[in-house]
């Protein structure tokens, strides 16, 4: 008797909970979508497993060689294939075993949206007056190189003393470095300290800086090996990619874009629905299921009031059941007629679906996660195209392109100044020492500027084929390799490269220019230099204040950096250094480095200075270009020319139009900029944004000008674009084509894109 009571209570409680659940979940609608028993579980199972046949492993395959191993790209020259295959080899050298662990960790991190994929080993300490200096941790450290420096970066040989005083002296006799490639094609060739014993056939390519890049020819064994690895990794990669979930960002929801994983031409993309549904066949439908579903709905409709469901929507269950039944019958009819499978997942896996496994795998492999705007390949102006993302938590189909959260703890960053590291590939190593280095500004692990923050980071690439994006190899963690994708602070965490080093503390340190110069006797025979600004305060759009600009240098391919105190330019209007708070470097090959400058913010004009290469760190050795002044009726007039150690003598060289019409001209103000010598045009080229946020281009025969008026390459885009940074290996820069590649920051996504401009269409 007592037992019966308890049974009755349990039953009542079950009814109560059932009612509550029904009210909370609106079961009637859910049931209307069911077509057969168990279909609900089938759906969840299919989603979790990404379609079963495609595999259920998560995370990126760290060692998928990516695009370069596909070979067969007829557009690649020998040098580029070499670089590409080297890139792959470098990537393959590590991380074969930890992809699953890594991905599972990062998946969780991504969900939390603000965490570090791996713990950073960077430590901080307060040294004086509250200035915090973070010690640097060597990526790869010195395990394989006993000469690798410790956190204190190696000092350069101090430049030879040159006791010149500050003399206002127009330098009229010095030849202008017009067309540097012709006049001084090869100034120096960066050489490593030791050369391999077995030199391979090499091809020499003159780089813009006047150096000669000696690039090894692809070895068959490497290509074959890389290709084999590529094939072996493709499946696992495709499996992991199906698990990726698009991340919603501030302004634009991520779309799921299907892109051919590897295309010689520009990637073609099309938006499909989110999430990545895997089409599968539908089991033969039992007509009785529909009838039973309909009957069930009717019964529920009738009995609902009797089980204490007071005001639940009475009509939806029946109405939705009827509509769902009609829709499914229509879908089945269409499917039967057209032979297409529907997208309805099923729980049962019948034998006939095995043949579809390959098809779904291929689809999964092609599926990628990138923002909906712009789409890779989008033509954003008659001359300019968006190629692919350089940074971002985006899975593009090639694991070496973007995907920077999983690999480097970077979900958002910007700027991306880019320069040739001036090194020569060592054929005896599995990686390519000849790289471009890219320095970025404020960097965050989470979306929308959240998570772990770094003032700046560095990425590397040896990719010479840019038409399908720029590959960045994975990092090399504590193995002595300083040619991985980034200087690491953790196994998959890019660390900050430039620190205040005792200088006045700002709120960030933003790289604005980079260059490599030969420095015989140093570790790699070449030193990297980055000009950066210390920001003291951000203002409204396009305005900010700086404490100073300065140059940091590295002799180990960007692993460790030291700020040169003698390079500091405080933002003092009376000194003239206020016009050199942001920079751009160009090295024509005449012995000088030309250093351009703009004031803080984006409202100023551009100025230019120059310095002998050996004196680049000594701000007192610079000369500043003036167009000359007329004086007062000729009194006090100064001729045009270069004025040593007198920043205040510099006059604007472009970006300062005047007059009612002039201020409305494109290019009237100069934002972040980059300068190159373009062999295709046989002119110096500068890209910058203007007062309308257009990206404009100017050309000149000499570094100081006269510079042309601005041509608009592309107008302001939704989301906000800035910081056009030209790639030194662009075909037009190298003189092998008309395309100019450049990095461009998109604020809404807070990431860097690779753009391509056809100079024949500007």
């Amino acid at each position: 008797m007592g037992a019966a009571t308890y049974i009755g209570r349990v039953g009542a409680l079950a009814v109560a909970l059932g009612v509550g659940t029904a009210v909370a979940t609106g079961h009637g609608v859910a049931r209307a979508d069911e077509t057969s028993a168990g279909s609900s579980s089938a759906s969840s199972s299919s989603t979790d497993g990404s379609g079963g046949p495609a595999g259920a492993s998560t995370g990126p395959a760290k060692d998928t060689p990516g695009k370069d191993t596909s070979s067969g790209d007829s557009t690649k020259d020998t040098a580029s294939q070499d670089a590409a295959s080297k890139d792959t080899a470098s990537t393959d050298s590590t991380k074969d075993t930890d992809s699953t662990t890594t991905s599972s960790t990062t998946a969780t991190s991504s969900a939390s949206n603000a965490t570090t994929p791996r713990s950073s080993t960077t430590t901080s300490k307060t040294v004086a007056e509250g200035v915090v200096v973070s010690s640097q941790t060597n990526t790869g450290s010195s395990a394989a190189n006993s000469t690798t420096e410790t956190p204190d970066a190696p000092k350069l040989q101090p430049p030879a003393a040159e006791p010149e005083v500050s003399v206002v002296e127009p330098d009229a006799e010095e030849p202008d470095p017009t067309e540097p490639a012709a006049s001084t094609p090869e100034v120096s060739t960066p050489q490593k300290n030791s050369k391999p014993n077995d030199p391979k056939p090499t091809a020499s390519v003159a780089v813009p800086g006047g150096t000669v890049a000696t690039i090894g020819v692809v070895e068959d064994v490497e290509t074959t090996d890389a290709s084999a690895r590529s094939e072996s990794k493709t499946l696992s990669d495709s499996k992991t990619r199906t698990e990726k979930v698009p991340e919603v960002t501030a302004a634009t929801a991520l779309g799921v874009v299907a892109v051919a994983a590897k295309s010689a031409a520009t990637a073609q993309a099309s938006i499909v629905d989110v999430p990545q549904a895997v089409p599968v066949t539908v089991a033969p439908r039992n007509p009785l299921d529909a009838l039973s579903s309909l009957a069930s709905s009717v019964v529920n409709w009738v009995l609902s009031p009797l089980i204490g469901r007071p005001v639940a929507p009475a009509t939806p269950p029946l109405a939705w059941s009827l509509l769902a039944f009609a829709r499914r019958e229509f879908d089945n009819f269409v499917a039967a007629v057209t032979g297409r499978a529907t997208e309805t997942p099923v729980v049962t896996v019948d034998t006939t679906s095995l043949s579809l496994a390959a098809a779904t795998t291929a689809l999964a492999q092609a599926a990628v996660n990138v923002p909906g705007f712009p789409l890779p390949g989008a033509q954003l102006s008659p001359s300019t195209q968006f190629v692919q993302w350089v940074t971002g938590n985006y899975q593009t189909g090639n694991p070496l392109i973007a995907d920077t959260f999983n690999r480097f703890g970077i979900t958002g960053t910007d700027v991306g100044v880019i320069w040739d590291n001036g090194m020569v590939d060592d054929p005896s190593t599995p990686y390519n020492e000849h790289q471009v280095l890219m320095a970025f500004g404020d960097t965050f692990s989470g979306a929308n500027m959240t998570g772990n923050w770094r003032f700046n980071v560095l990425l590397r690439s040896a990719d010479t084929v840019l038409s399908d994006g720029m590959t960045i190899p994975d990092g090399e963690w504590f193995n002595g390799n300083m040619f991985g994708g980034t200087p690491l602070g953790g196994e998959t965490y890019a660390r900050q490269i430039i620190h205040p080093d005792g200088l006045p503390a700002g709120i960030t340190l933003i790289p604005t220019a980079g260059i490599a110069l030969p420095t015989p006797g140093t570790q790699f025979g070449v030193t990297q230099y980055v000009n950066f600004m210390s920001v003291s305060n951000w203002g409204a759009a396009g305005t900010w204040s700086t404490n100073y600009s300065a140059i940091a240098y590295s002799t180990d391919n960007g692993e460790n950096w030291t700020v040169a105190p003698e390079s500091v330019r405080y933002n003092q209007p009376w000194s003239g250094n206020n016009n050199f708070q942001q920079g751009a470097f160009v090295r024509p090959g005449d012995g000088y480095v030309y250093s351009y400058g703009t004031p803080n913010g984006r409202q100023g004009a551009a100025y230019v200075s120059r310095v002998l290469e050996k004196d680049i760190l000594d701000v007192g050795k610079y000369e500043y270009y003036s167009k000359g002044t007329a004086g007062f009726f000729g009194i006090g007039a100064t001729p045009a020319g270069w004025y040593k150690n007198n920043p205040a003598a510099a006059t604007p060289i472009f970006g300062q139009d005047t007059g009612a019409c002039g201020v409305a001209n494109p290019g009237n103000q100069v934002s972040e900029m980059s300068v190159q010598y373009n062999k295709q045009l046989k002119k110096y080229v500068v890209l910058h944004a203007d007062q309308f946020n257009n990206i404009v281009m100017r050309t000149s025969d000499t570094p100081q000008g006269t510079w042309s008026s601005a041509k608009v390459l592309m107008t302001q885009q939704s989301g906000g674009i800035y910081a056009p940074m030209m790639h030194p290996w662009s075909p037009s820069t190298m003189g092998t084509g008309s395309d100019l590649y450049w990095n461009l920051s998109l604020y809404s996504q807070y990431n860097v894109m690779l753009m391509k401009t056809d100079l024949t269409k500007t």
Binding site: V15, A16, G20
Partner: protein, 160 residues
């Protein structure tokens, strides 16, 4: 089923029903919906991580600039998170601000975090909270990294 169990059933249903919670939340402004004159030129964020909207001529509209910044912001209840001059393209400038409750029993609350100079780190939170129904003057710190504003309040810069 006893009367008590029936009540328990309804109570369970009420607790589990999302509509009960939703009814307590304020209505988030949406583009195309009207806004009162008192909010003219004010911006708000209709949902977390959404692009800001601005009250223009009596209607909430999308902001056409990629770098939205304003001296007037609306928080309609839930936290509206903005960034200041410690980051590129701030949403608001530092200085003297006034938070005005839009309801008699509304409390305005601001939680600020500033950048620690020289480091990519933010300091501890600085919290300002007013009394119900009373305006709250406060200072937006100079190198503000982020500010979380909550309450049905209009936030205005007063030293512009």
């Amino acid at each position: 089923m006893s009367y008590r169990q029936l009540i328990a059933a309804f109570a369970t249903a009420a607790l589990m029903s999302p509509t009960a919670v939703a009814a307590a939340d304020p209505v988030a402004p949406q583009p195309g919906t009207p806004c009162p004159p008192v909010l003219a030129a004010a911006m708000t964020v209709p949902s977390a991580n959404a692009a800001p909207i601005v009250c223009n001529a009596g209607t909430w509209e999308g902001v056409d600039t990629p770098y939205p910044i304003s001296d007037r912001w609306l928080s309609y209840g839930p936290v509206v998170k903005l960034h200041g001059q410690g980051l590129r393209n701030p949403n608001l400038l530092s200085g003297a601000w006034l938070a005005t409750p839009l309801g008699d029993d509304t409390t305005c609350r601001a939680e600020q975090r500033a950048v620690i100079p020289g480091t990519p780190q933010v300091g501890p939170a600085k919290v300002d909270q007013g009394d119900p129904g009373r305006p709250m003057p406060f200072e937006v710190v100079p190198i503000l990294f982020s500010i979380e504003m909550s309450g049905d309040c209009l936030w205005q810069r007063t030293d512009a």
